[in-house]
């Protein structure tokens, strides 16, 4: 976005390198809030729109539309710093949208939001994505990422450790792991060759099967120990997955 110079590599948009002209078609939101604290909300949006080349009259209309869209219409004349953190974040997103960008780049749009604000932010972003504006955002809230994103890149210590759709990544990682619960037998362990216990709890045991071992054999093995309360393929959540790959 012109903020950092890449150490290596290039950034392209479509077929072209990212020039100023391209950058001006991107909606960007820095991680820490990037607005004038002592400027009125609407003035702020209009000003940024003008900086991005929007006509003054159009900028005014769009600011009004976005503010009512975000439920902030009655705060339009207030100074930014008098708004709650969640509302400031909404203004920030509105600022990223004001010039109708072709791409949204948001750095941690969910940080510091309460669950309700988080939900409404998620709805807004999904709306944009459905309207055909790709949204690229960074987050540490992996449950949210899992729910919202079509395509995910996990980065750990500056390296890409996994990439793809949430489901694809989880299924791939799941391999042949099974979660087995046997009634009355806490920390049950299979007595079957080619099995490896990953973790056990009072309720269930996660077992990894070696290649060629039939999950049905594991089920049969468990049934001999007691009544089965649980038997499923163990698909890790994104958080678990991240914890594993970053280990």
């Amino acid at each position: 976005m012109g903020v950092l110079t890449p150490d290596a590599g290039t950034v392209t948009w479509g077929d072209s390198t990212v020039t100023l002209d391209v950058r001006r078609r991107v909606g960007y939101m820095p991680e820490e809030r990037g607005l004038y604290p002592k400027m009125k909300v609407r003035d702020q949006l209009v000003y940024l729109a003008r900086v991005f080349g929007v006509e003054a009259a159009v900028a005014g209309e769009r600011a009004d539309a976005l503010l009512s869209d975000f439920g902030l219409a009655e705060r339009a004349g207030d100074l930014l710093h008098t708004l709650s953190l969640g509302n400031q974040q909404r203004v920030q997103v509105a600022a990223a949208l004001i010039h109708e960008p072709e791409l949204l780049v948001l750095d941690e749009p969910f940080s510091g939001l309460d669950p309700i604000a988080m939900d409404s932010m998620a709805t807004r972003l999904t709306e944009r994505a459905h309207a055909g504006v790709p949204v690229l955002f960074s987050s540490h809230q992996l449950e949210l990422v899992e729910r919202l994103c079509d395509d995910i890149v996990l980065i750990h210590e500056g390296r890409v450790v996994a990439a793809g759709s949430a489901q694809g990544m989880r299924a791939k990682r799941a391999g042949s792991r099974y979660r087995v619960g046997v009634d009355g037998v806490p920390h049950w362990r299979p007595t079957l060759a080619g099995t490896d216990v990953i973790s056990t709890t009072d309720e269930a045991t996660v077992v990894e099967l070696s290649e060629g071992v039939d999950p049905q054999e594991l089920l049969a093995n468990a049934q001999r120990a007691g009544a089965i309360t649980h038997f499923s393929r163990a698909v890790p959540s994104l958080s678990e997955l991240f914890a594993e790959v970053s280990r």
Binding site: L20, G34, R50, V51, G53, A95
Partner: protein, 402 residues
């Protein structure tokens, strides 16, 4: 999308101006400055305006002296005797000193005591009145003595009001309504005040954008140097507008107070003053922005703008305190930092040749171009480092890449 640098710079500058216009402190300080300037020009003129007016009460045979005094002041300008001040004198009759002083409006009472003139006042007698009565009394005495000696009326006249000497001046010095040194101080103060407030305003505006990270949004939309240009342009417009307004208010004030001489004298000096102000302001403006962009927080400004404050303060004191004849003053009137203050000062005091301010203006302009380029590079190299204070060298290096 078509990117128009001029328009973008104008939008950025527009915001700077808008912020200033809505800044209560700025509006108030401008108003105070204007009132102070107008008052300092108009008040003395009003107070000095017109001849002082006295009411003199007279007792009995003192009437001779008061008549002589009335005669003396009634003579038209130019024919009045030397030493007789311009006075608006009213003479009233009185029965006694006490009764006269009890009357409203009586300045002093004139009476005779054993052939001697006595002036009685309440808390004091104005100097102007005392000298007038002294002159009148001398006049009366001289006339009496001359008449006793049997002189003719013409001889008496020649004795008491001799023809004044003719004064010939071969190379008259310029006739100033206001001492030029005072103009230099007033203009210098204005320059100092304005550069300092707007310089700090630029630095603050830069660091505010850094601290609030707005700058990250802005650089996504436009090159860093355009942002700087907009900032400097906006503040320069406001600074020049403010100074022009204050100078104009001063001139109008002087005009209203009937001091046409001051107006023409100041107008002559203010042309160069404004030109040098503009150049001097632009010369330092980018460096002010750099002193802002080197800091990460508003709190750092105090120390990072210190050198800039000195760069404005030292020339000011040099301009005010260097003696007029000092050769150093001539040298400094060509040195870029001090020229914007000292050269217009030398023009005002009339000891600079016509070509001198032009040469100094070119020197300042060239320095301004160099400093703007240096400043732009340092700004570009430091404005995105929002984490901590940036060192000058690091800013210079990374500014080369930006």
């Amino acid at each position: 999308m078509n990117v128009k640098p001029g328009e973008l710079v104008r939008i950025i500058a527009g915001r700077e101006i808008d912020v200033k216009v809505h800044d209560k402190g700025f509006v108030a300080s401008t108003a105070v400055f204007i009132v102070a300037i107008v008052a300092s020009i108009a008040l003395p003129a009003m107070l000095a305006g017109g001849a002082p007016s006295y009411t003199l009460a007279v007792l009995g045979d003192a009437r001779v002296v008061s008549d002589a005094a009335a005669d003396l002041v009634s003579a038209p300008d130019g024919e009045r005797l030397r030493g007789v001040p311009e006075t608006d004198l009213t003479v009233v009759e009185a029965a006694s000193v006490e009764a006269a002083l009890a009357r409203e409006g009586v300045t002093a009472v004139l009476s005779m005591d054993a052939g001697r003139v006595v002036v009685t006042g309440r808390e004091g007698v104005p100097d102007g009145l005392t000298s007038l009565i002294a002159a009148a009394s001398a006049h009366v005495t001289a006339q009496g003595v001359a008449r006793d000696a049997g002189l003719t009326n013409q001889q008496v006249a020649a004795l008491v009001s001799p023809t004044p000497p003719r004064v010939d001046i071969l190379a008259p010095g310029p006739d100033y309504a206001v001492p030029p040194q005072l103009l230099v101080i007033v203009f210098g103060l204005l320059f100092y005040f304005s550069v300092l407030t707007f310089g700090i305003a630029i630095a603050q505006s830069v660091v505010e954008e850094k601290q609030s990270r707005v700058v990250e949004l802005l650089v996504a939309a436009l090159p860093v140097r355009w942002l700087l240009a907009g900032k400097v342009a906006g503040n320069a417009v406001m600074a020049i507008a403010q100074v022009t307004l204050i100078v104009a208010a001063g001139l109008v004030g002087a005009g209203l107070a009937g001091q046409g001489d001051v107006v023409s004298q100041a107008l002559g000096a203010s042309g160069w003053f404004l030109a040098f102000f503009m150049l001097g302001f632009l010369m330092l403006a980018c460096l002010w922005a750099v002193s802002g962009s080197l800091s990460a927080r508003i709190e750092d400004l105090q120390s990072s703008t210190l050198y800039m404050q000195l760069a404005v303060m030292i020339p000011f004191f040099a301009a005010v305190f260097l003696p007029e004849e000092s050769p150093l003053r001539v040298v400094l009137s060509y040195v870029p930092l001090t020229a914007p203050l000292i050269m217009p000062g030398r023009v005002a005091t009339g000891d600079a040749a016509l070509w001198e301010p032009a040469i100094a203006a070119v020197i300042v302009a060239v320095t301004a171009v160099v400093l703007i380029m240096v400043g732009a590079r340092l700004y570009a190299g430091s404005v995105l480092n929002t984490a901590q204070r940036t060192r000058l060298l690091a800013a210079w290096k990374s500014g080369g890449r930006a």
